[in-house]
Symmetry: C2
Subunit: 376 residues, 2 copies
């Protein structure tokens, strides 16, 4: 087996880099933004429409897929790629985040978590062995070690216990992993405690994962804390392995994290905000339910090449939201995903031509000023 | 201006024919099925997806568009084609059907109907002049005369009054019509009273419309009554003008009406049923919420070339409905519209090759037996 990840170009003035990650369903050029298909569908879009946004890889949630339709059924149907009609790369998370945030927890032990489904209260146990077994059945190209996710803020002792448990679970995840066509990533936890992050990174790196995630951020700690933690943690991870910042995020978060050396991102905001008529643009948020758009014949964003902007006026999209037509959420979700992919394309281009670092600082400042990051 | 409608081939054993109808946004090959975009959107589909089903023309409802966003706004935005991002032909109805079925009626007079909007109770008046003025503003390629729609069953006197009023309104509609890039069709009313149908048809034909609709059917009279009325009425209409059976319908209704000489159809069933997980197939209805599809890896319909059938299993679609993902309604709506367009394609092909008439009788019988027409 050849090299899984190769750094292709490095920014001279920061840790930013471009690279290529090889998976069972094709190559991914990094930095990469992954739209989220929570329950096997990126909300409001067909796979054809996702492809048109230039997305290379999508994410599905192990927690949701294990509850409905269930991992055995997905496996029987030929795996996630078949179910989702998506033959490019897929990543599944471990289920940990949802178990800790959505379900009713009954018991956390060293072997896993007993929880009650948020849908029907049915009891499940999820731990490193079962999460990996389920992810092996789902068949994504990249899968994640099972980890304990802590809220923000989190008492020091609890954070420490969780980090130590996550390190043990990472090792058990690695041992349980059965398919060599799936890349298993370890997840560095530790909140915004840099010493804990160091310890966790050290522990995981010694296990030799093909990629590493930074988890437990974008949970309320704010841009400054997040980027401080990412700056610290990214440098602890091997240069020649992909780095994935989970659940992030807003454009300035992504730009600053790329600068810190992060390669992969996922976030529900493009689709969640799209369903709420909130569009991302380079000059800030556009709220399409606003009556100022009633007669606005301009597209969501000038010079955007997405299907929505090429064909529909803000007035038309406002009308679709106003009367409750699905077309509204679909169009704004398409635009928002394309917005993120255009942002990533700019980032890649500027890393390659050497203009990334100074541009990045200005972009972060611009997006923070324009109000795109407020209200969250 | 050349001929608007040309009959291209005739069936030897029935009144069925193929033709070409010329509009400001291109030619329509008939028989034709028009998906319904009630409020400016064919529910769940983008215009790109509608085009992929091979639909040539779509319908929008004047009543809904006049309430939201309003005819003046649609006009200011460049008309319906622009708003809907659809540069092929569009047909608008007169608003009559919805005024009589959805709104609270206050007063019917010879000059029109005073009604309260079903959305906010606001008062409106709609009559032949205002309906045509609104349709001129909306800018569809084919527009409809304003008519009085009666329920089924309907007392004889009321039916008679309504028919006479519809004839007068047709004439006023014709006089009010200002745009020669829009074809104004007259609508024959009369319930299932064949004598009233004859009188109405005679009155309208003498006015010289470029096309004629048969209205007031598919309101509960049943297949037999409907087809008897269509058989009677179609022959009263000029051979060289297009005939449009409004709001119809189920596959056997369409096939039998083509046999009677009808050229145009519209119906909400493909999308309405699609949203309810009800799929049309040649072997009957498939209800995709049914648990028998939980592990069903086959497509909705074998040999169907639609996007849903080429990519998704019944099990996947059932899952999307089960977890409430928009992708479910979208996929089944795409399939259902494509099903109707494939049916129309078969009809056209068989009219051209002379095998239509005997095939049609078998098809009507088959669809009636297979249960596709029950439950409505």
């Amino acid at each position: 087996m050849g090299k899984v990840f190769e750094v292709k170009s490095k920014d001279e003035f920061s840790h930013a880099r471009t690279g290529v990650l090889e998976t069972a369903h094709g190559e991914i050029e990094t930095p990469v933004f992954m739209p989220v298909g929570t329950r096997g569908s990126v909300k409001g879009l067909t796979p054809e429409q996702i492809t048109e946004t230039d997305s290379q890889i999508i994410l599905a949630n192990t927690y949701h897929m294990m509850l409905r339709p269930g991992a055995d059924i997905v496996e029987e149907l030929g795996g996630l790629h078949k179910l989702m009609a998506w033959d490019k790369p897929i990543l599944t998370d471990s289920g940990g985040y949802q178990v800790f945030s959505l379900s009713t927890l009954n018991k956390i032990t060293d072997s896993g978590v007993e929880f009650a489904s948020h849908i029907d209260g049915k009891k499940y146990i999820l731990g490193p062995e079962s999460s990996i077994e389920i992810q092996n059945k789902l068949g994504a190209d990249i899968i994640m070690a099972f980890d304990e996710c802590t809220p923000f803020p989190c008492p020091e002792e609890r954070l420490k216990t969780a980090v130590n448990r996550s390190i043990r679970w990472a090792e058990q995840s690695l041992k349980s992993h059965k398919r060599d066509d799936q890349l298993l990533f370890g997840i560095v936890q530790g909140g915004i405690d840099l010493a804990l992050r160091s310890g966790c990174a050290e522990g995981l790196v010694s296990m030799g994962f093909p990629g590493y995630a930074i988890g437990g951020l974008s949970v309320g700690e704010g841009h400054k804390n997040m980027i401080e933690t990412v700056n610290h943690t990214a440098t602890l991870l091997p240069e020649d392995k992909p780095r994935y910042l989970m659940g992030v995020g807003m454009p300035p978060d992504i730009i600053a994290a790329v600068k810190a050396g992060v390669d992969m991102f996922d976030c529900v905001l493009p689709t969640r905000n799209g369903r709420n008529a909130f569009a991302f643009t380079q000059s800030g948020a556009v709220r399409l339910r606003n009556s100022i758009h009633t007669k606005d014949s301009s597209p969501i964003e000038n010079n955007c090449d997405c299907y929505a902007c090429r064909n529909f006026s803000r007035a038309a999209i406002r009308h679709f939201f106003n009367v409750g037509e699905m077309l509204g959420p679909t169009l704004v979700s398409i635009h928002n995903i394309r917005f993120f992919q255009r942002l990533i394309a700019s980032i890649k281009e500027r890393i390659k031509d050497g203009s990334f670092s100074s541009w990045a600082d200005k972009q972060v400042e611009k997006y923070q000023k324009c109000g795109l990051c407020r209200d969250f």
